[in-house]
Homo-oligomer: 715 residues x 2
């Protein structure tokens, strides 16, 4: 019998998009920049269709460290070499033969050591080189199914279907036994064993035939099967569908038979399935002449491997899968945005808690120049909940400075700003939870007529509810006094409050301190050297008078946004960076202020260096006309503050709306409440005595001098 | 003859939108915050229609200091009191009687002095109080047509049409004479005289009748007319249409007749027009009994005035005109945007040249995070010409960070960025001139195959042309080396080049210096204390090697925008502010750098304080993780710079594309050209000798240490 050189049908890979999705997740969350080989699992079944071969499947489960037995599928081990750049991928391609060599060496060792008999899946060990362009959802990959070349070619001395070769009865019995073998694997109560292929269900096995009965045994039982005498076959779950050729994975099994069983010829049952069961009509029976074991020194040299997969053009080379077009664009957008954030953790900010940001709800009071700028940077940071409050409508002068509006929003009197801003966010990023509320924030010093009180109360209740529902409130309005009520509510509810205000060529960005813990909370006078230790001040802590109506008598340029157009971008961006810095700080709203001063470039402390986004300033003031100067300042909470002091917060907590209404109608009541009235009297007295007490600076006067200039023009 | 108390039909104002448009322009350009009374001119005609009275018209010509005679219209003088705020308007209203008093006093003086006879239009002197809400196109105004109350009421002793009263023939002659009087005014070759009413055409005149002939004479000719004897009439262009009452403006004329002519009764011809000519059938003839001149001491007390106009509800009070809804929305948007810019000049930046900004053409190289941010701030500054260059398409991760794109722009593979960005600008502000070009900027260190050269040349030519056409180029790309070619072109063409680059939590914004004037231009070593005196450096002046391919081997997070999302807003805004600051500087691209250093808050020099937007920094570097530090730096141009040095610029000017191509293919050629190669050799030699020359810092090494950190991650 000379026979023909046996040729094998190549195994093809099928990579499910879930494989790439899972790789993307792993890459972002765990692997990051690592290029270490990752163990993965591939799945293949015996052939089930006359026209199509079965293929090796990679999917989302391929990355699980303990893969459960999947009905009808054989789990085989592989390695994934995923690299970080396209250039690295090309370099890996150039070293393809080296990579293949390494894997096939392991297969060869497993054959020689007998390990492959205990775990036949090791014979199908495979390799994937890949580069995942997660940004564009393009995946480059190249699979290898290494087959070791025998010292002499395998020759086929007979080929038939199982039924023809064995006769109908024995073939049926054999098919039946193989079916049990498979199901024994599937139904195994020991999934670990099954997965490892040490028991039933392995993709390669032995079939022993005595008389007309057949039974299946693991490869490891070779000696026993041999000892039993009689006819035996090598059984294999065959992925190929060709009538004249077995599938690729038989190659290493034949080599094992040659090297380990010491036989010169082997009969093989290539089991193929129909309707889920081994089919005697479609399975093949082969006789294969093996290399003459007596003439081969198996240990002397490792057989050369082959096995890189051909690409779609039938050439040796990688494939590319472009998932972009197939994905739901909304999901694509979500994934892409997520990606950008997670990438920060690879090198720049490994401790960054993006989930914390995604879960944060932000309330933007004011949807003007600053409100739009802040919302956009929040989106960039992955904040998904943004709520606007604004009483105005979009005017024709707005779109060129307010980055969420377009010309069409100004037509017919203009859309309500808050809702238009929310709509814009949804146009930008459909998955955002954005909403807008059109109402005015009640302001002290704008006395209400009796008829106006019910509306003001409703506005107050709505604001109160919104402050309750959100984690952060941005104060981005165009009057000083409209910031008072949200400042009180923020202090009472211990919310993070971030404030931004613009002048013509200057800005102030600040975050408020935490809720006061008691009447003496802010009283720790805090050594001047370390003001950051005490509770941080709010926007009103520098004031020694209650807020009053500042809108009376505004000229046109005071009503409009007469600020240098670049300021809103700077201040809005800084406000969000301050917010995110505080959110990422373990102390959150109570995070101490970054120490800045002259030592701007001094090394940061060890503690600070552990903060994902670094230390967080309290106040930042900038001025463009003075050579673009920018300073960070720190100010403690003021015990007699008309907004965040214990006295005010407690009165609000106890008095609710009636207290607020009183303050709106008569802001001076706040001065009485906080003791400012008394302070004024004593300050006046102090002025009289000033000549005698030159050295003893009065703190309140000092504070006043630190207050934002009166000509702050707020947005 | 007792007669009836004569009643007059009130004069109504008609304010044409062009009046408000012109007021808006004047206010923004000239008046600004001034509330001084402005002289204006009103126009009225004699009545032309039986059902409608004629009214006093105010329009765009009302503000001209020399108003030409307008056919059929009488020009009458008035004052406009335009105030700056709604509150001031309400205050002015409260003082309405005072204002009226002041104007009527002038009328009374003009009557007594005889001035009103020489210029009868003075009798119709009027007053307008107004407040123009230019932002919302709402105009509040209140007109007064002061009439002085006579000591005794005017009594009508007979009333008829002119035809009935004079008989057909004389009436026709009178009408004919009045017609000539009017036309004599219209056709006058002395417009000044006509406008002043000293000659024909005045709205009040005398008609002398002898036999059946009538002729018109000016009021000032009263004595002569009286001397001629015979019947005479007071002629007036009568705005009213009522058959039984004359119009309001007759009142002051009757008072003049009483006070100055010393007559106790006067016949009046209230001339009304049909088909443009005085109509005897429609004009009225009145006999009016005047206060008895002999019983009145005219000089003793001023008659009380009356004359505030009723509003649409028939009450004494202002009217409001809301022009918003009637204007072309595109024009509204243009006007509104213009307004915001011009408002800056009222108080904040009086020297600001907004026209210079509007005429500036900006080229944005890169339409990513920075490109979008820069374009938006440019729009805010009133820049109307913006051109984008970008080779990419909008990806799903872009819209949340790149403020000109929306989700829909990412679908189907994404729109080309440059065109999508230009479209977005047009959606925001339809009057912008925005365009996008999709091509790549050729980069040194990215060698071209022969097949790629023609495309690279075309890209180069296109960039060259765009640099030629624009005044400013912003370098906002994502690789260092793509900035080289536009830097060379900018230096050769002396364009303002502004550069912005982002790291993860740091940024660099800088402007390049002017074109080198000669080989030694940058060689002035410039005392370290005043580096701003020399030509300023470019982005490559800190490098001691030629730009090379930096994109090879970029990992995912290096390809993406892994910067803190707030940075683009900050850096983009600063880039535009630096640009606008330089554009407003008298030296433009050659503006010296702001001196900053430690003395950030020191008083600016006198010269600097004259700059509309203050002194302009050269480089601004910021870092968020170090407590939000920001510094301004200054660096002189480097004589051996591979981009902006004389050697490179001259080679480009002489060699054109072949020179550029050589540099692209072999950047080291630039090192040879500029002498860097030599410098490297001598630096290497210097290192050998370092121990001996410790104090003699090598300038090139110093520069290298100032260079941006290698881990700049550019956008």
């Amino acid at each position: 019998m000379s026979g023909q050189v046996l040729q094998f049908q190549q195994l093809q890979s099928t990579v499910d998009p879930s494989f790439w999705a899972e790789l993307g997740r792993l890459k972002l969350d765990t692997l990051q920049l690592s290029e270490d080989a990752q163990p993965i699992t591939g799945f293949y079944s015996a052939n089930t269709h006359s026209e199509y071969p079965a293929s090796l499947l990679l999917d989302g489960q391929s990355f699980q460290s303990e893969v459960p037995q999947r009905k009808g599928l054989h789990s085989v081990p592989g390695n994934l070499l995923n690299v970080n750049t396209f250039e690295r991928f090309k370099a890996a391609q150039e070293k393809a033969s080296q990579h293949l060599q390494q894997v096939s060496q392991r297969i060869w060792q497993d054959i020689l050591s007998g390990e492959a008999e205990r775990r036949p899946a090791l014979l199908a060990r495979f390799l994937v080189l890949s580069y995942a362009d997660l940004k564009r959802f393009r995946y480059y990959y190249w699979c290898a199914f290494p087959a070791l070349k025998p010292p002499q070619a395998f020759c086929c001395t007979s080929l038939s279907t199982l039924e023809e070769g064995l006769g109908a009865e024995l073939a049926a019995g054999t098919a039946e036994a193989c079916c049990e073998w498979q199901e024994c694997g599937s139904a195994s109560s020991q999934p670990d064993q099954a997965a490892e292929g040490t028991s039933g269900g392995a993709p390669v096995w032995l079939v022993h035939m005595a008389d007309s009965a057949a039974d299946c045994q693991p490869l490891a039982a070779w000696e026993e099967v041999k000892a039993r005498g009689g006819r035996w076959l090598l059984g294999i779950a065959d992925h190929g569908q060709l009538p004249g050729n077995p599938g690729w994975l038989l190659r290493n099994s034949l080599l094992l038979a040659a090297a380990r069983f010491g036989v010169s010829e082997v009969e093989v049952a290539c089991i193929r399935l129909r309707r889920g069961k081994p089919s005697a009509q479609h399975s093949l029976l082969l006789s294969v002449r093996l290399p003459d074991a007596s003439q081969v020194d198996w240990g002397a040299s490792q057989p050369a491997p082959t096995g890189w997969e051909l690409n779609a053009r039938g050439k040796l080379g990688p494939r590319v899968m472009n998932l972009g077009p197939t994905m739901d664009p909304r999901q694509l957008a979500e994934a892409a945005v997520d990606l950008n954030l997670k990438l920060m953790r690879w090198r720049a900010a490994p401790a960054l808690d993006t989930a914390r940001l995604a879960a944060t709800k932000c309330l933007l009071l004011g949807a003007g120049t600053l409100g739009c700028a802040v919302a956009r940077v929040l989106l960039g940071w992955g904040i998904r909940h943004i709520t606007f409050v604004d009483s105005g409508r979009v005017a024709f002068s707005n779109p060129v400075r307010q980055s969420l509006y377009e010309f069409k929003d100004c037509l017919e009197g203009g859309l309500p700003k808050a809702e238009a801003a929310a709509q814009a966010l949804r146009r930008i990023f459909p998955s955002v939870h954005a909403s807008g509320h059109q109402f005015s924030i009640p302001m002290p010093g704008h006395p209400l007529s009796e008829a106006e009180v019910p509306k003001a109360e409703a506005d107050f209740r709505q604001l109160e509810e919104l402050m309750e529902e959100h984690d952060v409130a941005f104060l981005l309005m165009d009057t000083r006094e409209s910031r008072w009520l949200p400042t009180v509510l923020g202090a009472a509810k211990n919310r993070l409050v971030v404030n931004a205000a613009l002048g013509f060529d200057s800005f102030l960005v600040m975050r408020h301190g935490a809720a006061p813990a008691g009447p003496e909370d802010a009283a720790r006078p805090a050594a001047r050297a370390a003001p950051a230790r005490g509770r941080l001040g709010c926007y009103f802590c520098n004031d020694v008078v209650a807020p009053l109506d500042s809108t009376v008598d505004r000229t046109l340029e005071q009503q409009c946004t007469v600020a240098r157009p670049g300021l809103a971008g700077i201040a809005g961006s800084l406000a969000v960076e301050v917010c995110c810095g505080a959110l990422q700080h373990p102390e959150g709203v109570a995070a101490p202020a970054a120490q800045h001063d002259a030592a701007a470039s001094s090394a940061t402390s060890h503690q600070d260096s552990l903060l994902p986004l670094g230390p967080v300033p309290h106040m930042i003031r900038g001025q463009l006309s003075r050579g673009f100067a920018q300073q960070c300042l720190v100010g403690s909470a003021f015990r007699q503050c008309t907004a965040c002091s214990w006295a005010v917060v407690q009165q609000y907590r106890q008095g609710g709306w009636p207290f607020i209404l009183q303050a709106l109608q008569d802001p001076h009541a706040l001065e009485d409440l906080t003791g400012l009235t008394e302070l004024h009297n004593s300050a006046a007295a102090l002025m009289m005595d000033a000549s005698e007490e030159d050295d003893d600076e009065d703190e309140s006067l000092l504070r006043a001098s630190e207050a934002p200039a009166d000509d702050w023009l707020e947005l």
